[in-house]
């Protein structure tokens, strides 16, 4: 088996997902045994023409993003979206909840015309995405799982159940019980319920599970003391586009 050529690209994002990869200190050297990193702008100068696997971080939010992602798609065999911005639009997509003009004016005032910006879209809205690694930041164990699977030439196994599952298995005290807000019951697992494990509520960064009972979720939050408006607003923090 020859080493697959992998590349990392960033679009509109905080680059936290890329940093998360560099935070794999203990595994980094082992990883480099398995793959050839041919492009990683944040960490290196080299550039390549073709890749076996392209990992994409960030959302589509400018016209140039669109041409760039098409170009990458053409040059890669497998394309993996990394993190909330790339998978479901993430925090960036909150701006889609407002009128584009108002958003630009709020930030740049009279100069709003200087900066092209289009509604935020996930990568999959523009090109075919083969696999996803969710989370804000992306969960590193899941990233490793996908990478190992692809090296083995097998389909990764990605969960489609709620963070609640992982939270219960860790025997955490329920955050809702403590009177806090929480999106664990409707958010896709895969992070090992890290936020509730640290006493914080789940903000839903990994996006909602498929077939979600949206009305039920709002009712659930209402029972825990949050108004419909507040519930919906907070459900949309990372999931504007999934809950449209």
């Amino acid at each position: 088996m020859s080493k697959p050529k992998i590349a990392f690209f960033d679009f509109t994002s905080c680059e936290g997902c890329q940093l998360n990869k560099l935070n794999l200190e203990n595994d980094l050297l082992d990883l480099l045994e398995l793959v050839d990193i041919v492009e990683f702008r944040e960490a290196m100068d080299d550039k390549a023409d073709e890749y076996d696997i392209a990992f994409i971080e960030g959302s589509i939010s400018t016209p140039t993003c669109i041409t760039r992602i098409h170009d990458i798609r053409r040059r890669t065999k497998i394309l993996v979206a990394l993190g909330a911005c790339a998978v479901q639009g993430g925090i960036n997509a909150i701006k889609n909840q407002h009128s584009a003009d108002w958003v630009k004016e709020t930030v740049y005032g009279e100069d709003k015309y200087l900066f092209p910006s289009i509604p935020v879209q996930p990568i999959s809205a523009v090109v075919k995405v083969d696999y996803e690694v969710r989370g804000c930041p992306m969960s590193t164990p899941e990233f490793l799982h996908v990478l190992k699977s692809l090296i083995l030439n097998r389909k990764p196994e990605i969960f489609d159940h709620a963070v609640c599952v992982e939270c219960k298995l860790k025997e955490n005290e329920c955050v809702l019980d403590k009177g806090m807000f929480c999106l664990g019951p409707i958010t896709r697992a895969g992070c090992d319920a890290i936020c509730p494990t640290f006493g914080q509520y789940c903000t839903g960064c990994r996006g909602v599970v498929s077939n979600i009972n949206k009305n039920g979720a709002v009712e659930m939050l209402k029972q825990h003391g949050f108004s419909t408006k507040e519930a919906l607003n907070r459900m949309k923090m990372f999931c504007t586009l999934e809950l449209e």
Binding site: L152, N153, R154, K155, E157
Partner: protein
Amino acid sequence: MENLIFEKKDLYNPIISTITNVEQLTDTEKRFEIALPENQILNHKPGQFVQVSIFGFGEAPISISSSPTKSPLFDLTVRNAGRLTDKMHRLTVGSQLGVRGPFGNGFEVNNFKGKDILFVCGGIGLAPTKSLIDYVLANRNDFGRVVILYGTKSPSEILFSDEIEKWKKDKSVELEISIDRPDENWKGKVGVITTLIPPLKLDVANTIATIVGPPVMYKFVLMALKGKRVPDENIYLSLERRMKCGVGKCGHCQINDTYVCQDGPVFHYPRVKELKEAV
């Protein structure tokens, strides 16, 4: 606490077996001939299945598509559908894989003796049925008419073309094939499998019908058989569910109170009628 003395079983240890032959049947299906180590015999009944595993790629239930008369070797006919089966398709003669089983009940062949048999097979459903067809043909005198109805999406998906040729030549076998989406070379019948049923002339009281195919097919085939007045007691079907253990523990294959892996996959239709989530 009273002692729990039982014959404890290591249920999850696969037997590492060897692929002795691979045959490409269609674009997406291959037949694998498997040998257990040290000439062990699988000892299966037609309709039973094994849990096949490849380390790193997981496990999946696969029906045994050869007759027990082929022992000690046995065949698995596999469609490339996902993680495990894709890897299987990349294996070659001499490669190893894990086998647990045989599991499930299989067809009650003794109840079929002396009867006409109508085999209704959709797509990959021919694979498990073939084990029974082979058995019936190997003991041809024990049975009455043998009618095989087989439907696939396209001509290129037709399985076991060698056997099909044999069956076509065999005077004692009535074979009908229908294709959903024919190509220009297809001369045979066109349409979903249910269209083959109305023209049949059956001695319904003396006919056993078996149905195996994709989940969507059952409802329609059953309706067509009802139209022919085939009694419910004469119908058997093999159901497919996701299975993680094969031994009645993991819960995935449960239909109401029934575990497909233990109480099935072959079901007598009157039983299935009671099961509300079955077809």
